[in-house]
Point group: C3
Chain length 348, copies 3
């Protein structure tokens, strides 16, 4: 698709400076963009690129001053970055919506129901009783187990696997390779040192507007549901164990893990590679620093922790600073011991 | 499938209280269950749900007292939870065993051998020389490289990938997205700063009754075999490097990693996100705490460690407690220094 | 394929001792090898196996002395291990090169271009505009999004997923289940506590001779490119966030993670489960210890750090040693306090 400066100006309500017929078919960074690309300049620090870029159209801030002539057509808006981002979002939306229909070969059970304008990619597998909403995009090589439900407008990227009975809301995005509904890790130790598997018969419920990254794992509940609540955002390679609940609009960064039955409140932020042990309560708005190991519930709303084991952020930071001086502290301690020894000796 | 209270009572050896013809088709948590569902009550703390649940049949402890009338049919057994769990296991077993045959399209080499009552899902790929035992379930989108052997009753969930020459035992379960037999990470540094790949020509051997979670990675040996011994249980997103051995009935929690050539004994327990460096020996029954970084062999049977770097559990815990008081300790040290300074000054 | 001792001797320039017609079809460890297998003995410590092995041909060091008769044919070379490894590499190369053609069913867009002697496995998916170089091996169940480019001789193992517009160089190897080009994790917090997705419209560029392990995740840039430079080696389950750059011949061990926009220099080594926060600069040749949490740029070439938060390796190690003595240090501190208290009391 090609767009003219005039068309784009209309979409973002921008003021044209230069050739309104200049046209672009893709996006680029201003320092790398070539002819036929659209770029933006938000930070005046990078102004120099305005004069050297190959971009055909550039979105700039209203306030941007020019010290030299510019080859590209400029589109002036109050906030260049926001205008650029919304343009991209619109473009991707259009592109995604064009994807509809069923590609062959796909495996679709006779009892599966598929909504209007849905897309089912080749090598996708829809088991008995699957229900797919309207405008859902099931990309190639996705697996949906028995009775899986997928809400309207949801996008499952290539190779996503969803086990039986899991329920995915509307406007959800799950990235390639993530697995929803694998068995929770439950094995009862037996007297002879072996284990008996505890059947995992619950499911996973992923509510509306959730986004889940690449190759993450969200296990089904032993009984009941593992729940990812509305609008939560999970990054790549994350582990969510059985019966966990993640609150509304909580954000979890890559490679973090949450153990069984822990409940995380709304609007919490969990850093990368953090771990949370099982059966805890994490308050709304909690801040868990990257690589923390959380072993106790966080009861204070907005409470911040760091360290492994994790505790109060401010205290932990102070201890970390002192801990770097430990060898010097030990030296001071030794000196004191010497001095006291001498003082005591002199006394005698 | 529908089951009557009378049928279930027979299976779990329970005493019927109420309508023996009440029937159920699925399971639910007592607080959420609806008509047609089976629930259980094990913890007397939740007794109130007995009177409000929509469940049609409820398994309860023999000893359960009733303060109000109950709509559902009750089945009394010595231990409600155990009865419920064994019922579920039986149900899942029946359901799984019904799955047989080959779905089209699958890619099956002419030299692959497939046992009795096996299931091969659509889009599965069986290379030359693959041997599949009886009642094995190869779910959709699984990949089996050349000469892979799979023992009887083993279940490979959707999207599992097993590289050439790997050997999987009987009664093994591998969850979606796990990869068995990827190349070990071996690169010989060259004088010019580049690397030469060390060919990884061994394999992976997974013994009977092992369970492996979602999106885990078990690398093939450089030479010989990476071995996961009988009954070991590995959770999601775990890394097992080349030439590692994991002992019988050892349990490894999610996101833990074991580096090359380390040998882990039998009955060990390794916490989530723990890491073990290469070429170590970990004794039978060792306990490695979550997020530990193990840099030395654990020689004592049942030895417990924590921390990064990890050391003796009890000592490490003591140090962690003191380390939280470090800022206060430094203050005390400073005070002492002041006092000594004064004492010494007065002496003069 | 069967090879005679004479043929192998020629390939590795070895001196035959025994039957030149002895033949082998596979490789084995000397202590486990059976008839028809080739083994090697590099470490004289294991000499005993020479006399008991079932191997038909054994590569040994020129200098190897024999205390007993040996059944196998020996091939003497200056360095047995190197000869064995290069033989294996050659064997795997031959085997891999034999793999060509397109297996059915594969999904190949009419606008995809495929080079000479390429292999496309069954259930692979090639979107519009995909360009595949010569002798590329696309294994089964791989997904290539729109306009993905793959350079000559590159190998994509089963189930690899590459999103649209990503560019993979020549002689690259990507192992099963890895995902290249998933959306970067970018969400702009809104005043009402919800998030607005920041469109991720960049791509990933993987340069020549890179190897990426199993189930790793490399996210596409917000704008521009996430770049893995020539010859870098990434292990399994690694997270590379949007706009990261990994330098030439840098090595990253399993389960490590790099946050957004961080630039890692050439020839760096990053240990397993290490984490690096966003927007840092890591100098050439930096050494980051396993499980480190890097929160500040490393500016010194070859600088080594450890700990979480990470700092200078030598200092951190000293602090770690002292920190194990913390309970004892506190005791000493208490003693001093007692002594001083007494001294001060006596003064009065």
């Amino acid at each position: 698709m090609q767009f003219s400066a005039a068309q784009i100006a209309q979409l973002i309500n921008g003021k044209i400076e230069g050739d309104p017929n200049a046209s672009v078919g893709s996006f680029g960074k201003i320092e790398e963009a070539v002819k036929g690309q659209l770029a933006f300049l938000a930070n005046p620090k990078y102004e120099e690129h305005l004069y050297t870029t190959g971009a055909s159209i550039i979105i700039v801030n209203e306030s941007q001053e020019l010290k030299q002539p510019v080859n590209a057509t400029l589109l002036r808006v109050p906030d260049a970055y926001t205008a650029f981002a919304s343009l991209l979002a619109a473009y991707q939306e259009i592109e995604a919506q064009q994807l509809t229909g069923i590609q062959e070969p796909a495996y679709i059970s006779k009892t599966a129901q598929i909504g209007d304008k849905a897309f089912i990619g080749a090598f996708a597998y829809l088991s008995d009783g699957v229900v797919i909403g309207n405008q859902v995009k099931i990309h190639p090589q996705v697996y949906l187990g028995k009775n899986v439900k997928i809400g309207d407008n949801t996008v499952l990227h290539p190779g996503v696997k969803i086990y039986h009975n899991c329920v995915i809301g509307a406007n959800v995005t799950i990235h390639a390779g993530s697995v929803i509904g694998g068995d929770g890790f439950g094995f009862a130790p037996q007297a002879d040192g072996t284990f008996k598997k505890v059947p995992q018969i619950g499911n996973v419920v992923v509510e509306d507007y959730v986004e889940i990254g690449v190759n993450s794992a969200i296990d089904r509940a032993t009984i009941g549901s593992t729940i990812i609540r509305k609008g939560a955002k999970l990054d790549n390679l994350i582990q969510i164990a059985h019966n966990v609940e993640v609150g509304h609009y909580t954000v979890i960064a890559a490679q973090a893990g949450v153990s069984g039955s822990t409940k995380i409140g709304n609007g919490a932020m969990i850093g990368g590679q953090a771990g949370i042990v099982g059966h805890l309560q994490i308050a709304d708005g909690a801040r868990i620093n990257a690589q923390s190991g959380v072993t106790k519930s966080i009861k204070t709303k907005g409470g911040a922790v760091t360290g492994s084991p994790a505790y109060d952020y401010t205290s932990a930071l102070r201890s970390q600073v002192v801990s770097r001086n430990l060898p010097e502290m030990e030296k001071r301690l030794k000196e004191l011991e010497e001095q006291i020894k001498q003082l005591l000796a002199e006394k005698v």
